[in-house]
Amino acid sequence: MAERVYLDNAATAPLDPRVALAMRPYLDPVFGNPSSLHWAGREARAGLVAARSQVARLLRAQPEEIVFTGSGTEADNLALVGVIEALGQHENHLITSSIEHPAVLETCRYLERRGVEVTYLPVSGEGLIDPADLARALRPTTRLVSIMAANNVVGTLQPIHELGRIARERGVLFHTDAVQAAGKIPLDVGAQGIDLLSLSAHKLHGPKGVGALFVRQGVPIGPLIHGGGQERGLRSSTENMAGIVGLGCAAEIAREEMSSEAARLVNLRDQIIEGVTAETPCTYLIGHRYRRLPGHICLGFSGLEGEAIKLLLALDEAGIAVSSGSACSAHHVGQSSYILEAMGLDAIRARGSLRVTLGRFNTETDVASFLRALPEAVRTLRPTSSYASPSPQRGAGNEPDRR
């Protein structure tokens, strides 16, 4: 059996054994309902309180500003629908970007069907939003701006500080989907002007099935799930205690190890970028060279874009797990990526990307394995694009940020 290397940490990151250890008591001995007043409830409640503080510290927020949810997607839905419905205005305008995760885009489309006007901001060839575009798009009826902190396909980091400042100056609430960014880059909801922020545990080596939404005190928001009034009435249902404790522990580890881990991942990332472009000349990097998540690489292959899925399968056969575009779009592998199209890539190139994402448990050995396997996998493919050569001259065509 081939050696197994996992390089798809943006899809989900393996559970950190320290997180698993923290969660274990909450699967059995600490079984209480944190809403109960007796000893069993008190034991569980202590875990809930601690986890809330741990998540708050990661964002430099207050514990009472953290609402636990069932996922990052739920947190996004709660932020957008919860705020728009709570405001109860007759005319509502919302601004987002054209490269958001479907958790935001599909929620926007739901809101559009309910009469909300939505503006989708364009992005540059590197996947960046121009803050001037946001300033121009704001209207008197704009209630909310939702821009992701880091893109899930390309890894581009948005100028959240600048975008948040513009929204705040105009008195408009600012939400960021930080599912990919939380725990990987510093987030400071106060300094960055963030009113709402979504995150997910399993992207930071925590468990699946739990997320959180930061809601700044005073922000009007209503629940999507009604019931017993847990989470300050914003997310009724008995708390997923093991998951929440796992999220808290994962957030704490990410915060404590962020600077050393980010620096380590950037070095591994650069080894891949430099190694791939040296060994496989038809490769180009998609997105900004530096303004990207520490462990995130998105690659295109000139002339082989139509073969990206075969490339992924060839790497899988070699034991290397990577992603084509986004794991969330695994059900739509035949389609081009709307994110890459928004960045100006043509339809062929937009369906041919490979996403390689590093995590806490990847090592230089994994990088070496990938760098050995990729050229061999590429050699097995046939070019399918009639107009593109597998070895184009550098600078030719519209390949973004080729190195």
Binding site: R60, A61, Q62, E64, L157, P159, H161, E162, R168, E169, I185, P186, D188, V189, G190, A191, Q192, R216, Q217, G218, M258, S259, S260, E261, A262, A263, R264, V266, N267, D270, R289, Y290, R291, P294
Partner: protein, 232 residues
């Protein structure tokens, strides 16, 4: 370009590939191109305090009470009242209003109806006994009236207004709540906690205490409501 670690954002985030800003700064003289790797350079401020950037947290002030104690340097914030007692924040009034906003209840709530108190009236009265025991007669202009409960929201003004415009006399009242802005604090402001604070317009510059039961961070500062008021 001669940049030092102090010129860099100070986040020590590692996103540039160096563990600390100091480590990046060390390499910059020999390789200035590395600055491109700092995505926060020139863009992001240093981290805020845990309560966000709208309340500027200050260092604890040195103690100086009574005669012979050190005097504050010019511009230094003194976190003690005129009787040398510590407090945690200054309470300012909302800039759009004529003075500090208070929610008051006449000791005889029926006065609200008997005196036909309405928005814009000028009132005088003293906050007797409980809540909050100040010996000074206050003057203010009415912002809201609830004739059912007798509760009045007023903004406290100086004594010139009643002299110039006339007034209605409440006699004694209870100050039930203060609402205002915190622009300077040396403690985290948390809902549900009781604080010592200094209303900036207090004639005696005595500290007050109260329970924060509403917090809203705005570009102008942190809006709070304080109840359970007491002097000292």
């Amino acid at each position: 370009m001669n940049l030092t670690a102090a010129d860099l954002p100070g986040l020590d985030c590692g996103v540039c590939g160096f563990r600390t800003c100091a480590a990046l700064a060390e390499r910059l003289p020999s390789d200035p191109d590395l600055l491109k790797r700092c995505i926060y350079y020139g863009a992001e401020r240093k981290t805020s305090g845990p309560t966000g950037p709208l309340v500027q947290l200050a260092e604890p002030a040195p103690k100086h009470t009574g005669a012979g104690t050190p005097q504050p340097a010019p511009g230094e914030t003194v976190w003690q009242d005129s009787l040398g007692r510590d407090f945690d924040f200054f309470l300012e009034h909302f800039p759009s209003e004529p003075g500090p906003r208070e929610i008051i209840l006449p000791h005889n709530p029926l006065l609200t109806r008997e005196l036909e108190i309405k928005v814009g009236d000028t009132l005088i009265g003293r906050p007797l006994g409980m809540s909050c025991g100040c010996p000074i007669t206050h003057c203010g202009v009415v912002m809201q009236v609830d004739s059912r409960t007798g509760i009045i929201v007023w903004c406290v003004t100086g004594p010139m207004r009643p002299r110039q415009e006339g007034f209605k006399d409440l006699g004694y009242y209870s100050a039930e709540a203060y609402e205002g802005l915190i622009t300077k604090a040396r403690a985290e402001i948390k809902i549900g906690l009781r604080y010592f604070f200094q209303p900036t317009r207090c004639m005696l510059q005595w500290r007050h205490s109260g329970l924060v039961n509403y917090v809203n961070r705005t570009p102008q500062g942190t809006q709070v409501r304080l109840e359970g008021l007491w002097i000292g």
